[in-house]
């Protein structure tokens, strides 16, 4: 591999890893703060992508689709928390697994009823549809750089919210000790609802951003879900920064695995995970 290819593969890795971070950050927050295992999280990614497809065909622009899609995803997340997940906090993990497994089936079938089972493409917004010439034969699509940029902005924003705002303080407190938060008179149910809705919106946004490059197809959420689990395991439950580091590790492992070890490409990320488990069973960033 020459240096130019190496650089480009690095860009590919970053872009893939950052996108995964959007999905995994919501998952790890919901795990860490609410103690809920949510198998349906990958479905939110799928729902986001289909929202992008439907709204972009209706409005003619992916921008509009994303602008409309984010509030829809937030409302949807808040509704789900109120209707279903709020009943799960005191249940054991097994029942959470079961309910969210059922939800996957429901979401997929509703998707099939409402939008059908076809594979769809979503057009890249015209202003980002160009490519940058990187080597004599290869150019790099601008849109992929845009995705990476948006993800970096969101990661910084998430850092700011968690470290600097009152909501963030409550989230951090809730992550450590929920009884203490309740003792302080903070409405824990409200925090749960906000965090859950945020997680849904982040996953859906990832799906919307990815829709032009990955296409929109049935069951697209399940692969993302399992990779997100791996990221959470590597990064440590509840750690957003762990999720960021782990997502980038997975992005690099997967991209370079495809090129250097094509026979093992599907397995590389799981082997990395097994290694981390041996070294630190609670994830790299788990404190204590």
């Amino acid at each position: 591999m020459d240096f130019a290819s190496f650089l480009i593969q690095t860009l590919n890795s970053l872009q893939y890893g950052l996108l995964l971070f959007l999905v995994a950050s919501g998952l790890t927050l919901v795990f860490g703060i609410m103690g809920i295992i949510n198998l349906a999280h990958g479905s939110f990614y799928m729902i986001g992508a289909y929202l992008a497809f439907v709204l972009a065909s209706a409005t003619g622009s992916l921008f509009m689709a994303i602008l409309l899609g984010i509030p829809l995803a937030l409302i949807f997340g808040a509704f789900l928390e109120w209707a279903l997940f709020a009943h799960l906090y005191k249940r054991d993990h097994l029942e959470q697994v079961l309910l969210t497994f059922g939800l996957i089936l429901i979401f997929e079938e509703l998707r099939s009823l409402l939008v059908g089972d076809e594979v769809h493409g979503v057009d890249i917004p015209a202003m980002f549809s160009g490519s940058i010439q990187l080597s004599e034969v290869l150019s790099y699509p601008v849109y992929r750089l845009v995705i990476s940029g948006v993800c970096i902005v969101l990661a910084v924003a998430l850092y700011f919210v968690i470290q600097r705002t009152r909501l963030g303080m409550m989230i951090r407190a809730g992550n450590h000790d929920r009884t203490m938060v309740e003792a302080l008179g903070i409405n824990i149910n409200m925090i749960y609802r906000v965090v859950f809705a945020l997680g849904v919106a982040l996953a859906a946004l990832a799906g919307m951003l990815a829709s032009p490059i990955s296409s929109v197809f049935p069951n697209m959420g399940s692969h993302v879900l399992i990779i997100s689990f791996v990221i959470v395991v590597i990064g440590g439950i509840g750690s957003v920064w762990g999720a960021l580091a782990a997502a980038l590790i997975v992005g690099f492992a997967d991209t370079f695995g495809k090129v250097l070890l094509p026979e093992l490409s599907g397995m590389v990320v799981y082997i990395v995970m097994a290694g981390v488990l041996l070294w630190r069973p609670e994830g790299i960033f788990k404190k204590g």
Partner: protein, 390 residues
């Protein structure tokens, strides 16, 4: 005494099952045709096109095959190999069909071929290209009205070598259809002195091609041979153009790359050359009348899959007619099918000893939103049927 008893028992059993909704009571006098095709999932449109094509021929033939009325049984195979055996058994053991028709996905078709062999049910495969079906797993009662993965790819190998291309990279999904296509291509291409620099694969139906495009750019081959189908194919052609590779490294592949996808590809598809046993601008009267009738009946343009469904019905017609409409005389039906010369919209074809079409493969180019015929790449190409003992 005993016969009366048997009779009563049969009535009792039949009533019990009919009441339970287990069997359909009538239909004793109709020929039972079971479609096991994808009606949901990625390949749903292919399943529908095959069904439409089959039914169109039956309609043209006065609603009958071999003078007998047809009763259809349908199972959605979801293109899921894990459920394939069970689904095939529903038609074979539960509904006891005379003819099984299916399917698109090669893995599912292999499972169907196995069920058909074990139960001696007549099977016509209207699409799936897995070489094994008319190779090592061939059987007297297993037929194919479409193609083997080897056929269009082998033809492409010859075409590319003739163009003076020396160094090639291949990309495909890692499943048997893709891998066998690449094998067929390499066989002809290497024989003519070409060299394959690298084979790249990704899991089906993954469509994140970016790392592979980067790799292609660093190898700089003379051309790229790809096998993809459906939406994944459209995505690949678009990504290939977005990466700027189409300007310097031409793209070739079996026709599934561009069939039914031209709208989705837009300008990115322009000039891509492919090989297949069918094309948009064939100059034969059969194709013209077929297309007219299809558009009239289904309000959409037919594609290669509809042709394959149509020919599956023609094939069975030939067999049933030979047996005077008696589907139970299976060996006579098979003889009739083997001897048939099918007047297909793709051009007339006969069957090889292994029951695969011996057909012309066309070289096509994407021009003005159509797969236009440039030339006949190979005339009357027969699959080598390696491992078949028929």
């Amino acid at each position: 005494m005993t016969t009366t008893f048997k009779h009563i028992r049969n009535i009792a059993l039949a009533t019990a099952f009919a009441a339970a909704g287990l069997t359909s009571a009538q239909a004793a006098d109709k020929v039972k045709v079971g479609f096991m095709l994808p009606y949901t999932g990625t390949y749903a449109s292919l399943g529908n096109a095959i069904t439409n094509g089959f039914k169109q021929y039956v309609a043209e033939n006065g609603g009958k095959l071999g003078g007998r009325e047809i009763e259809y049984y349908t199972v959605d195979d979801e293109s899921d190999p894990a459920k394939a055996t069970e689904n095939a058994n529903k038609l074979v053991k539960r509904d006891k069909v005379d003819l099984l028709v299916g399917t698109v996905h090669s893995g599912v078709a292999l499972a169907m071929a196995k069920v058909a062999r074990e139960n001696k049910t007549l099977l016509i495969v209207p699409n799936a290209g897995a070489d094994e079906i008319t190779g090592p797993l061939c059987a007297p009662n297993v037929f194919r009205s479409s193609f083997s993965a080897w056929q269009p790819s082998y033809a492409m190998g010859e075409v590319m070598a003739k163009k003076g291309i020396k160094k090639v990279v291949t990309v495909t999904w890692k499943y048997s259809f893709g891998l066998q296509s690449v094998e067929g291509f390499k066989e002809a291409f290497s024989k003519a002195g070409g060299k394959v620099e690298k084979d790249m694969t990704l899991p089906f139906p993954n469509v994140e091609f970016q790392p592979f495009l980067t790799e292609i750019a660093s190898i700089k081959p003379d051309a790229v041979f790809v096998f993809f189908a459906g939406a994944g194919a459209a995505k690949f052609v678009k990504d290939y153009a977005a990466a700027g590779l189409n300007k310097t490294i031409p793209l070739y592949g079996p026709g599934f790359l561009t069939d039914g996808n031209l709208d989705a590809m837009g300008d990115a598809g322009k000039g891509v050359q492919t090989t297949l046993h069918y094309a948009d601008s064939l100059d034969n009267p059969k194709d013209k009348s077929f297309r007219l009738a299809y558009v009239k009946a289904y309000k959409q343009q037919p594609d290669v899959y509809a042709v394959q469904g149509y020919d599956a019905a023609q094939l069975y017609q030939a067999g049933l007619a030979a047996a005077g409409g008696d589907a139970s005389k299976q060996d006579v039906v098979i003889k009739g099918m083997e001897a048939a010369k099918i007047d297909s919209p793709r051009g007339a074809f006969t069957l090889s000893k292994a029951h695969n079409p011996v057909q012309d493969i066309y070289l096509r180019e994407v021009q003005g939103g159509q797969n236009k015929v440039i030339s006949t790449a190979v005339k009357s190409l027969a699959d080598p049927a390696r491992g078949c003992k028929l």
